[in-house]
Amino acid sequence: MDYKDYYKIVGVDRDASQQEIKRAYKKLARKYHPDVSKEVDAEARFKALGEAYSVLKDPEKRAAYDELGANWKAGQEFRPPPDWGRGFEFSGSGVHAEDAGAYSDFFESLFGQGMGPQAGAGTRQGFNARGEDHHAKVQVDLEDTYKGASHGISLRTPELDNSGHVITKNRTLNVKIPKGVRQGQKIRLSGQGSPGHGNGGAGDLYLEIEFRPHSFYRPDGKDVYVDLPLTPWEAALGATVKVPTPDGPVDMKIPAGTSNDQKLRLKGRGIPGSPAGDIYVVAKLTLPPASSDADKEFYKKMQQDLPYNPRGHLEV
């Protein structure tokens, strides 16, 4: 397992005061909070930050972590020293970042399984209590929302066994993905959460839809964007070209004089619904390579016969 440099993650020196650590953490937490940040790795960074802070904010854990020494480098192969942690007593629990997965192996090897954010989840139920709701993300293809589909999804649920240890249970569910579903929407499956206690019913399972990144479609709400490479003559003279859509290819009329990055709309071809979204086709002008002598001759002829100055407005 890899060594984690908690000081580096929080962005402070090893001799930083508790106050400095708190300030640095708060600043980064606001920056990388997954509900605020647009950065792709925000969620992973926020989790790592929460883990680092849960150790550094707690003087007992911080002292134990410091005991490992300052010579480790982030990412270095790590084994806890055999006598490490002796004489330390950990009292607090981990942070409570909601939805945070289990902490890293590195954290668990140092502070034990019982200290992570999932420990204790689901144990605070009274007697006739309704089972807990579960939340999970499910990745689907954009095509699935056009046709509707059913997906086998695997879920890992931490549960307590009879002796009170946390075990991870795997289960697979076959779930219908309704037509017209959009990124971030939720599907509720009644009774698929944790079983209830006593007379309480089972909790529900909430699945959040996430589109698997596609090599050329970019969904935005109900709409879908696709880049369409065009030759200079297609853009200048107009043409009818085949455009892919998740429903199958369509013929699209490119108007004469289309410019680069111009958006052309295929009305109602976006994600189905009432009303359905649109597809925006973004024109991307490409140049044929001038690799052979004949190609070069052709470009030279254009240079002579086609007077064109794209830099006129720059006044140079």
Binding site: K26, A29, H33, Q185, K186, S259, D261, L264
Partner: protein
Amino acid sequence: MTKKILSGTLLDEQVHLSLTEFCQACSSGTEWVIELVEEGILEPSGEESSRWSFPGNSLSKAQRARRLQHDLEINLAGVALALELLDEIEALRSRLLRKEHLNE
């Protein structure tokens, strides 16, 4: 062996949840949801709380509110402001994407 296909409810703007259902769906107490309504973060239809009806898509908003409140330790007024600004940024981003050179 073929497994049974489960059909869930898509929680979009067409689905409406009562206060009790809504609280259950975001595993929170009634008071917290009432606070969100008083702060203007959630806008259920219906006059009294017993007749409130929440559109399904407001569930995500409540969950975002809770994560922000909890993870960043901000009060609900601050959460309301953050959510409004985030929505505005999102709308501007979308508009920018759409308007840029759009020429039909």
